[in-house]
Amino acid sequence: MNITSIGFLVFVTGVVIAFHLIPSPAYRSAVITIANVGFIGSYVTDLQQLAPLAAFLLLGYAVVGLARTRQSGSTLAIGVVLVLCAYVFIKRFSFLDGLPGLPFPYVVVGLSYILFRILHLAIDARGGHLHEPVRPLAFFNYTCNFLCFVSGPIQRYQDFIKSAETKIDGRDADRVFNAFSRVIRGYINVIVVSGIANYAFLHLNQRIFTPGLVPEGACFVVEYGLCALTYTIYLYANFSGYMDIVIGVGWLLGQDLPENFNRPFVARNFLEFWSRWHITLSDWFKTYLFNPVLKTLAEAFPQRAMVPYLGVSAFFVTFFVMGIWHGTTMVFAIYGLVMGAGASANKLWQLVMADRLGRKRYQALSQHPLYSYACRGLTCAYFAVGVTCLWVNMDQLCWLWGALGPVGWLGAVLSLATACGAAMFLQDLVIGWSERWRPPAVILSRRGACGNLWSAAQILLVLMVSSFFHKAPEFVYRAF
């Protein structure tokens, strides 16, 4: 079920109405369960297609249960390995091409995020952080929550249980208005902003890869840079818009889903960027990969002077794995290498600069506007060039590599960094200037006639733009 489809809107409306018909927790839990089953069912035409997913869930539930009851490190380790093997088998990573697979088509949508939730539950169960046993229905509703099924956010189980108890009463009129506003803002992002960016991206992408249309020399570098930039805008608007929609709907269903984006393009370095982009995924990797890796390295190399530099390696491993997670082919391994290189180089730069300049002078330099905008531009440019791996296949990447050459790649990064830095400077100027318009903007975002009219105008804009782009943009992260 595509979130931009009429079917999804009808589905969500039905779920919200059914949910609020009777204020009994058992009834509401049943509604959510039926909604989750219905949502997953929309991806299949035959029950058999759900079998691998069901088996994966059963395996996950067994591992969580055993980890909680046994409280044993080895049980957890065996369980995690089993779950990972099942995941790799079901997802059909390209290195398994020679091995036999299942002889029928099946659903893999949402599997990555189910994996994260199962590992979180198993590790927390082993660590004694789950005070109550995980009941089967709660396990299903947590791992397969239709709002987070396709692409997160990755909510902690403890928060999921807590938010299920949230009530909507007469004092929550503002919350309801904010929920509607959030959903509408999500559609603006997905359909208007990402739709326009996707339109431009497809046009530029076609020029880059169509023989006879490929521009030459500096024009090629510029067009590639624009292509990378429009894809990045598309990716951000599409994914953050999706989050706005599910978080807004969550509010109407009494669920407080965690935020997943916090203005990532104001980040002044690559590591800060990842604390603002896909936050719940970054947090998950920090908790369950970065920290254990760092701890293991620190035990292996206990020298005090080494500790900061161990972080460089831990960042590389974490971002490399995070990159590989995005897909099953070689190009995603390269994406992981690029992200890992970016994160570890960023950490190394911080260490070297602090060492050379001293902490205070380095902090002062970091506050300097010119340095700050240069860093913001470079962060944006590096990310935009890095995510090229998400819109090309291996052959296209090799061709791009040869066509651009080292000078071309460097030129693309630097020109993008300059353009992004300048754009961010201008944006900050405009925002500063537009502060005087803040009172009218506040009225539009408040509950009341003006707020409702503003919401209606935005819906109209969404409808009109979606009719221009006859094909609504796909939810891009669904593929990962």
Binding site: G170, V176, N452, A456, I459, S467
Partner: protein, 367 residues
């Protein structure tokens, strides 16, 4: 629950109020009556519909009446080559001429246009109708090469896009299904005027910003296709048609079925083999095979009542074209002069036949 319904209702009321206001403004700026004259997709850009497929799909009211009609269908060379004002002057005054050519169409899309025309007509109206179907080899590119591009839902033609764009039809596994009943199509098209107007405004603005303008007919009449351009055009058609000859049978089958469908409804059909510049015919790897397949098809239909065939091949001089396929404006009168004698007997027979299907063979050949 009450809060949610109240909030949803408030936004819905505001939305309806805004839309009604916009609709009123749009109808004042672009009254629908202006769009209801004889159809000509060449003029689509000057109407609120802007694009050819939208113009055809949303603007079919003039095709409903039960008078004699000539409906020209085909690709862009049909739009350029058969000018309704030139044609209407050469055929009986009672008949109207509608040019529903569609740029970049293959036979699948032409068939869709024919179906769109027939589905808004009564059986009596269909029997007073002559389809002029202009063909050349470029219209026989397979669907998988033509309609499976990243910017569209796989397989959707430009006509399909218009079916689904405003929700007038919905996509199913068995093809499009009507959401808006045909009898309400005109009212529904009027109801979406704000969308159409904003679309037009957007496109006009983009055209103004990038200084896009249609070439003057004087420029086109003096255009010369250089050998470099010829190579580019041939490369382009190689990409459209696929790896190489022969052309797939798929689109010839579609053409044959389209001819059958037209004749089965009691309409007449003039199949026109459109001319190409000599250099194009000589260097295209597809032309020979197209000729072979076309001849076979014409031979099967030529004795059928209500069918006529016209070969415009004699107008293939290189100087008659401003590119690889489109005739210069000074040549279009000759196209009309050759088509009119083919249409006249078909028209008189449709008038005589009235509500009964034609009985006599009406074939006419100029070859």
């Amino acid at each position: 629950m009450r809060l949610i319904l109240k909030q949803g209702g408030a936004i819905l009321v505001c939305l309806m109020g805004l839309y009604i206001g916009l609709l009123g403004m749009t109808l004042a700026l672009a009254p629908p009556s202006r769009q209801l004259r004889g159809l000509n997709t060449a003029a689509a850009q000057d109407t609120i519909f802007m694009t050819e497929p939208k113009y055809i799909y949303l603007n079919r009211a003039p095709l409903r009446d039960e008078s004699d009609k000539v409906v020209v269908v085909g690709a862009s060379n049909v739009i350029v080559g058969f000018v309704p004002s030139e044609l209407v002057a050469l055929i009986p005054a009672s008949a109207s001429v509608h040019n529903l050519g569609l740029g970049g169409a293959n036979m699948t899309e032409v068939r869709q246009v024919i179906d769109l025309v027939q589905e808004v007509q009564t059986p009596a109206a269909r029997r007073r109708e002559i389809f002029v179907l202009g063909i050349w080899y470029g219209m026989f590119g397979e669907d998988r090469l033509r309609w499976y591009t990243p910017d569209r839902t796989p397989g959707d033609t430009d006509i399909d896009i218009e079916r689904y764009r405003y929700g007038f039809e919905r996509r199913t596994a068995h093809g499009p299904v009507l959401v808006v009943p045909r009898r309400n199509l005109d009212a529904a098209a009027t109801a979406i005027y704000p969308f159409l107007y904003l679309d037009k405004l957007g496109r006009d603005t983009v055209a103004w910003v990038i200084h896009q303008h249609a070439p003057e007919s004087g420029d086109l009449n003096t255009a010369v296709v250089t050998s470099e351009k010829q190579t580019q055009y041939l490369d382009y058609w190689s990409r459209i048609m696929g790896a190489g000859p022969p052309i797939s049978d798929e689109q010839f089958v579609v053409l044959e079925r389209a001819c059958e469908a037209i004749l089965a409804e009691g309409s007449r059909l003039a199949l026109v083999d459109l001319p190409l510049p000599q250099w194009h015919k000589e260097h295209s790897p597809y032309y020979g095979y197209y000729e072979h397949r076309k001849t076979g098809l014409v031979n099967r239909f030529i004795r059928r009542p209500g069918f006529a065939f016209l070969d415009l091949g004699e107008l293939d001089g290189d100087a008659n074209f401003y590119d690889e396929v489109h005739p210069k404006p000074r040549v279009t009168a000759a196209w009309a002069e050759r088509l009119a004698p083919v249409l006249s007997p078909l028209l008189s027979s449709s008038t005589v036949a009235g509500s009964t299907p034609p009985a006599a063979s009406l074939e006419s050949r100029i070859r």
